[in-house]
């Protein structure tokens, strides 16, 4: 069971209170009807599936209820950082090599 820091509660809490919500920073196109089938497929289905640091979303569902973003190393499962929804995608911490 992971330990996750909720950026809204500002507490580090057990995974049991959280729900994973998929890759982060995949914004819904502003005008979906203007997208091509390929662009729409990318939005719906294509995922980075990074081996190493992975930008992803979690929800503190049994807590403050907020969706937020996290950067987690999918090899070690370590959280490198978590940040509030809407915050622009931060760069990789220099220390982390991207596998």
């Amino acid at each position: 069971m992971l330990l996750i820091h909720c950026p809204y509660c500002d507490e580090t809490l057990p995974e049991a209170e959280f729900a994973y919500a998929g890759e982060a920073h995949i914004a819904r196109p502003a005008d979906p009807m203007a997208t091509s089938d390929e662009e729409w497929r990318d939005y719906l289905f294509i995922r980075t599936n990074a081996r190493g640091p992975h930008y992803e979303r979690w929800r503190h569902v049994h807590g403050c209820g907020r969706f937020f973003n996290a950067l987690r190393d999918t090899v070690s499962d370590r959280f490198l950082m978590t940040y509030k929804a809407g915050v622009p995608r931060p760069d990789l911490p220099a220390t982390e090599d991207a596998q």
Partner: protein, 417 residues
């Protein structure tokens, strides 16, 4: 290759087992191959074997970052079945079962394919409807799958708890007799030995770091830890690691890799004659020929390559087993392990050509890859050899995610309201 026979066994028994030779050589990579297969699991080794045997293509290398059969092939609960709903899936998996049936003889290697029957439990009205739909579709597709009453299910699997008072009472079951299990390692070893005997190079502990393409966009070979290997055709059969590899070829995949856990109990005398699956309570169980109860768990909720997996999932899985089989409550878990499964949006595999000339993929099997091993290998070999999909794997394209023709077995078993 020393052929296994009653005679060779006896001879070796009398000569202190001295006669056995290497089952496959641990090859060094050559500069060029006609076909490079990335991933020496059952699927990849099978593809190499069928390329050599059925298509006469023997200048083939199977390359793995670790030891052959060390991935999901050796980390699953070995359930084999083909009672899928959609025509496409039913044909795909039934093709595999056809090959399973003669595989030991085909490979001269006992893969211990055990047709002990797979029974899927229905716990509510919705399950019943869903199973009936499967059974009717299977019947018209020529796939065996029969409905059992709770009493019949209990006769087929005595440890089953069919009390109507259970939190999830057993209201019936769907049984595929032709389904069962096999010895997972033996499948990889058997294919490796038979492929090597036909001239295939098996290159272990040699991570493939990138797929290279020429100016015309076509595949030119693979970069590996032991240097560049030239090949006009590259087939990637690397399960959870497919996304990373494809990325190097400029292809982004509709895949996510999740940790999948499984566990075994201490070995006990035979007490469990078949395979039982309950998708509603998430319990998957059989007993190995060694006596261990082999139990499948679910995937953790987050993507991961750590092969660790959490305790809560194991707790839930074991609770589910004890709910359906209360007599196992005092049994003990001996060991649990984790694999990495690659899952597509519709939970069906992608098996075929890719937009990149000379590049082929076999991935997205999720938690169900082992059962398809011979079929996947066979169809991948066909697709590579003919540079065109076999009719059976033709629907399992990458394009379906653009056009919307998904093959979604799980959605078809939608939740009741």
């Amino acid at each position: 290759m020393t052929r296994f026979s009653a005679m060779s066994l006896l001879k070796n028994a009398l000569t202190g087992q001295k006669g056995w030779r290497e089952q496959w050589p641990d090859s060094q990579p050559r500069a060029e191959y006609d076909v490079v297969i990335v991933g020496a699991g059952g699927h990849g080794l099978g593809a190499a074997y069928y390329l050599a045997k059925e298509h006469g293509i023997t200048n083939v290398a199977v390359i793995d970052k670790g030891w052959l059969g060390g991935g999901n092939t050796g980390r699953n609960t070995t359930i084999i079945r083909s009672n899928y709903l959609y025509d496409e899936s039913a044909r795909l998996y039934d093709h595999a079962v056809d090959l399973w049936e003669g595989l030991s003889q085909e490979l001269n290697y006992n893969v211990m394919y055990s047709k002990r029957g797979v029974m899927m439990l229905a716990h509510n009205v919705h399950d019943i409807h869903s199973f009936q739909r499967h059974i009717h579709a299977n019947r018209l597709n020529g796939v065996d799958n029969a409905w059992l009453t709770p009493g019949e299910a209990k006769v087929f699997c005595p440890p089953l708890n069919i009390s109507p008072k259970a939190r999830y009472p057993v209201l019936g079951a769907a049984l595929q007799m032709r389904a069962g299990t096999a010895r997972h390692d033996a499948v990889a070893w058997g294919y490796a030995r038979a492929a090597a005997a036909r001239g295939v190079d098996i290159i272990q502990n040699c991570p493939v770091t990138a797929i290279r393409r020429g100016p015309d966009g076509a595949v030119t070979g693979v970069e590996t830890a032991r240097g560049f290997i030239r090949a006009k055709k590259v087939a990637v059969s690397a399960a959870g690691h497919t996304s990373v590899l494809m990325d190097s070829a400029g292809l982004r995949m509709p895949l996510e890799s999740y940790p999948l856990q499984a566990l075994v109990s201490e070995p006990v005398k035979p007490c469990f004659p078949c395979v039982v699956m309950s998708n509603t309570v998430h319990a998957y169980i059989s007993q190995s020929d060694k006596g261990e109860l082999v139990i499948g768990s679910g995937t953790d909720q987050y993507t991961s390559y750590s092969q660790r997996g959490g305790l809560p999932l194991i707790e839930h899985t074991v609770a589910a087993i004890c709910e359906v089989f209360p007599i196992f409550n005092r049994m003990r878990m001996l060991r649990k392990w984790g694999g990495i499964v690659d899952v597509t949006p519709d939970r069906s595999p992608i098996l075929g050509k890719l937009p990149v000339p000379g590049l082929y993929v076999n991935c997205g099997w999720g938690t169900g890859g082992f059962k398809a091993t011979p079929g996947a290998g066979h169809l991948l070999a066909w697709t590579v050899a003919k540079d065109a999909p076999h009719p059976i794997n033709a629907p399992f394209t990458l394009e379906r995610f653009t056009t919307g023709r998904l093959i979604d077995e799980a959605a078809a078993a939608a939740v009741a309201h």
